[in-house]
């Protein structure tokens, strides 16, 4: 049985196709695209591109679950499920022991408490760009550093960060511009930016409570600088799946499996 999960995020859209043979489930293909203003069209493209990777047709899919911020616009989906449930589900497939998930996406940030893949509590910030992927994206753009490199660069400045005083992402950009004028090193500025993201998320973790086995998902989980800082701040090891950006889509695909049965 072959099913799919589609996660239409605010910044990027993810599609995962999984196949189940007996009790063994495995990821057959996945794809990530930038979300365009037309989320219906984005969903169709990301799904088609994923199908093409393994050369199967839409009709081969038994069930599709959509999730994420644009999930309601995916008309080909059989069902919509919130990204919070999907992240808990997806992480549980890799790490059943994990009880706390930090999902740091392009435009929001969530702390999810879960047990056995089921959500028991969560908190989210989707009102303010501070502490989201967008914040890092804008600072990276100012520094002309690619998103993939900001994590490792920020580690070079781990112990010499330039503190970014402003809370707001817009004002932080100004702070960064003035740091650049002062000739500060890129890695120290990025260290300050990563510190700021962690500082913004930590009070949310305090409110939900941190269980020792925690996982980070969402696009920002690809940032090693954020991972190292969160581990240091909370004195715990983070479990990061091979592709943390597609965890929501993986969770959605597993929901598809359950519903298709």
């Amino acid at each position: 049985m072959i099913v799919s999960g589609i996660d239409i995020g605010s910044r990027s859209s993810k599609c995962v196709i999984i196949g189940q043979d007996g009790t063994q489930a495995k990821i057959l293909a996945s794809h990530v695209l930038l979300t365009t203003p037309d989320s219906e069209e984005t969903a169709r493209s990301v799904l088609n591109l994923t199908l093409q990777k393994i050369g199967i047709a839409l009709t081969d899919l038994r069930y599709i679950v959509s999730t994420g911020y644009g999930r309601v616009n995916v008309s080909i989906a059989n069902k919509t499920i919130t990204e919070i449930s999907c992240h808990a589900k997806g992480v549980a497939w890799y790490y059943p022991n994990v009880k706390t998930i930090l999902d740091i996406g392009g435009q929001d940030c969530k702390v999810i408490a879960c047990n056995d893949g089921k959500v028991t509590n969560f908190i989210m910030n989707d009102k303010c760009a501070a502490g989201t992927g967008r914040y890092l994206e804008r600072i990276a753009a100012l520094l002309q550093v690619s998103l993939e490199n900001i994590g490792s660069l920020s580690l070079e400045g781990m112990y010499t960060p330039e503190v970014i005083q402003s809370y707001c992402a817009v004002f932080a950009e100004q702070d960064v511009v003035s740091l650049l004028w002062q000739g500060k090193r890129h890695c120290d500025i990025l260290a300050g930016a990563c510190d700021a993201v962690v500082k913004r998320i930590s009070p949310m973790i305090t409110r939900i409570g941190m269980k020792n086995d925690f996982s980070i998902s969402g696009g920002v989980a690809k940032n090693i600088g954020i991972i190292k800082r969160l581990e240091k701040e909370w004195g715990a090891n983070a479990y990061i799946s091979p592709d943390p950006q597609i965890i929501g889509a993986i969770g959605a695909a597993f929901f598809s499996l359950e519903h298709a049965r």
Binding site: P37, Q107, A129, R138, Y167, C168, A169, V170, F171
Partner: protein
């Protein structure tokens, strides 16, 4: 007796010169790539030149604003005093129109509602850490929409089908505005939606300090007529005219340096 008032904001520096409590000269310049102290030096020289007054004749300088600490007044060998933005605004407003008791100040990085009487600040409420509703946000929006907001600040007559900007955060609002443009909405109507959003951020602050009979709006954004009109509409009051809206804080700092309001 000559006193100087300086308001070093986040985006511009404003300098005024007062002789016997009359405004004799004023200058403003943007802080672009120059340092605050360079921009301030330019404005100080310009106001002195404009009034044909020597720096040595200035009794005292009053300074206010978020960048006040970067002006470097030590090098001018004139006594100076630093004042809070709210105190300066209250003193400046009293000098301009003593009957105004509620002031809304909208600057590049901040906005503030102030209740004042006899040149003293009684109560203030302001945004603290967030760019939403500030001049900077409006500038970003005008970039995206391709509308020069100052040149196109009269938007009266645009009614009906004004989109709501749901995001509070200035960053997310940008994305929302881009989506509205993609959806072929009229940029002028989108701009009205933005003004409405900004108004809804400022409105509760005004209610919190108290809406008195005579109200005025100051700061750079007060020169945007469409924005001001919408604020008037929401607050249900016509604002008192302010002749030099961006200089009120600088005038107030000068008045305070001269010993305060009489």
């Amino acid at each position: 007796m000559v006193y100087m008032g300086i308001d070093a904001g986040s985006e511009t520096v404003k300098v005024t010169l007062l002789q016997d409590r009359n405004l004799v000269s004023a200058e403003t310049a943007p802080i672009l790539v120059n340092t605050v102290s360079e921009v301030a030096k330019f404005c100080i020289e310009a106001v002195l030149h404009g009034a044909k007054i020597e720096l040595a004749n200035v009794e005292r300088i009053g300074i206010t604003g978020s960048s006040a600490d970067y002006v470097g007044l030590d090098r001018y060998q004139v006594p100076f005093e630093k004042y809070r933005p709210a105190s300066s605004l209250a003193a400046g407003m009293h000098w301009i129109d003593p009957n105004v008791h509620t002031v809304i100040d909208i600057g590049a990085n901040s906005y503030m509602a102030l209740k004042c009487n006899r040149g003293k600040a009684l109560k203030t409420d302001r945004n603290s850490t967030c760019a939403s509703g500030t001049g900077r946000y409006l500038l970003k929006v005008s970039d995206i929409l391709g509308i020069d907001i100052m040149a196109c600040s009269k938007l009266t007559g645009i009614i009906g089908d004004i989109p709501t900007i749901g995001s509070t955060c200035a960053v997310f609002a940008e994305t929302e505005i881009i989506s509205l443009i993609h959806a072929k909405k009229d940029p002028k109507k989108v701009l009205m939606g933005v003004y409405r959003g900004v108004t809804s951020r400022i409105y509760p602050l005004v209610l919190n300090v108290g809406l008195e009979e005579k109200v005025a709006v100051t700061g750079g954004v007060s020169k945007n007529e469409a924005m001001v009109e919408m604020l008037e509409d929401v607050l249900g009051t016509a604002f008192q005219p302010v002749p030099y809206p961006e200089f009120v804080g600088a005038i107030g700092a000068g008045i305070l340096a001269a010993g305060g309001s009489p």
